[in-house]
């Protein structure tokens, strides 16, 4: 399964949520599907996208917050799986795309290819709703359920280690940051 195809399938639903992606391929793929002011691409700070999702979901209880994460980033901040499970914001979806690779820096293999089971770690960290979704249909269904659920949802999807042909995005980091924050403040005040 290609991550790009999954994102395309769920884009209509993602479009209405507060979305944080990690850097690299997933940011570019979402951006190319159509940038929205409620999309934030965390272009560094690897591991902290899920922590950002926690801060956002606790501060915007009426919004649905989705973090599009990856195995490399999650492995850098495994403690976050435990913190998320501990505080389990009911409006947070933590979706981990696992390509067993640090794709954006040249495809070096990560520990998930050698047996580390991120869904298992999330579950044992205390997350109640952990779903494996390795086909487009399963991913669509898991994301639809997670989007309706009053509870922290973790989805883990194995995807191929294939990214976009170019990593170019026509939006600067700070442009994205200020547009996103302004949009969220509108949501918070509305």
């Amino acid at each position: 399964m290609l991550r790009q195809d999954v994102l395309k399938a769920v884009y209509p639903r993602l479009k209405d949520q507060v979305v944080v992606t990690i850097m690299g391929a997933v940011a570019v793929e979402l951006y190319n599907l159509g940038h929205q002011p409620n999309f934030f691409y965390l272009e560094h700070g690897m591991g902290l996208a899920s922590s950002m999702g926690l801060g956002l979901s606790l501060s915007l209880p009426k919004e649905r917050v989705t973090v599009l994460d990856g195995d490399g980033s999650v492995l850098m901040n495994l403690g976050s799986l435990s913190t998320l499970a501990r505080y389990r914001p009911p409006n947070l979806i933590h979706w981990i795309f696992d390509n067993e690779s640090l794709l954006s820096v040249g495809g070096f293999p990560t520990a998930t290819g050698a047996g580390t089971d991120l869904a298992g770690i999330a579950e044992k960290a205390g997350a109640e709703h952990v779903t494996l979704a390795d086909t487009i249909e399963a991913a669509e269904e898991a994301f639809a359920e997670a989007s309706e659920r009053e509870g922290l949802s973790v989805i883990v999807s194995k995807v191929e280690a294939i990214g976009p042909p170019s990593f170019a995005m026509d939006i600067s980091l700070l442009e994205n940051r200020f547009e996103f924050a302004r949009h969220l403040r509108g949501l918070a005040n509305g």
Binding site: V20, F40, L42, E43, H44, G45, G47, L48, A49, S50, S51, M52, G53, L54, G55, L56, S57, L58, S59, L60, N77, G79, S80, S82, T83, R86, Y87, L173, L174, R177, F180, A181, L184, R185, A188, N189
Partner: protein
């Protein structure tokens, strides 16, 4: 325990009166009372972290959503948060307020705190992070307000170092 309850309360009230409603923290001896006050206060959300760097992400998310927050940690927590501070808070211009217990300075008895104490201020200076050392309980509310004002106008991290004179009663 000779951690000052009175000055911990002054600090907690200062944080509250600055409009902060979310604190992320990792326990340390000097901070136990402040954390307990945060835990007991229905108007304060306390997130207990596994590692301090998570707090940078949490505060960034909170700030983007328009909520005031702060990180409460030991100076060794600052050391472990450096990448997040540089490549999220500084890169994305986040007014991150860091309230840091300053272990390992003059009067420190625990040998294991001493190296962290030596590097704390040089590190803050090299990162270009403005900071103030807090030792006088009567000015704590003023100091927290000043730090937050600068963080928000500069859109940069600012640090408050809680000294032994403030936190500890011999």
């Amino acid at each position: 325990m000779p951690v000052s309850v009175k000055n911990s309360e002054a600090l907690f009230l200062a944080i509250k009166s600055a409009g902060i409603t979310l604190l992320s923290a990792l326990p340390e001896t000097w901070l136990v009372h402040v954390m307990q006050m945060a835990e007991d206060d229905p108007d304060m959300t306390l997130i207990r972290l596994n590692k301090e760097e998570e707090g940078v992400g949490i505060s960034t998310g909170a700030h983007f959503a328009g909520r005031k927050s702060a990180m409460l940690m030991q100076n060794h927590g600052l050391l472990t948060s450096i990448n997040g501070i540089v490549s999220v808070a500084q890169l994305y211009r986040v007014p991150l307020l860091m309230v840091i217990s300053y272990r390992g300075e003059m009067g420190e008895r625990d040998p294991w705190q001493t190296e962290g104490g030596r590097v704390t201020e040089p590190l803050l200076r090299s990162l270009g992070i403005d900071y103030r050392k807090l030792s006088e309980p009567s000015t704590v509310a003023y100091d927290v307000r000043q730090a937050q004002t600068l963080a928000e106008s500069s859109l940069r991290p600012v640090a408050l170092l809680l000294t032994r004179d403030l936190m500890w009663e011999e």
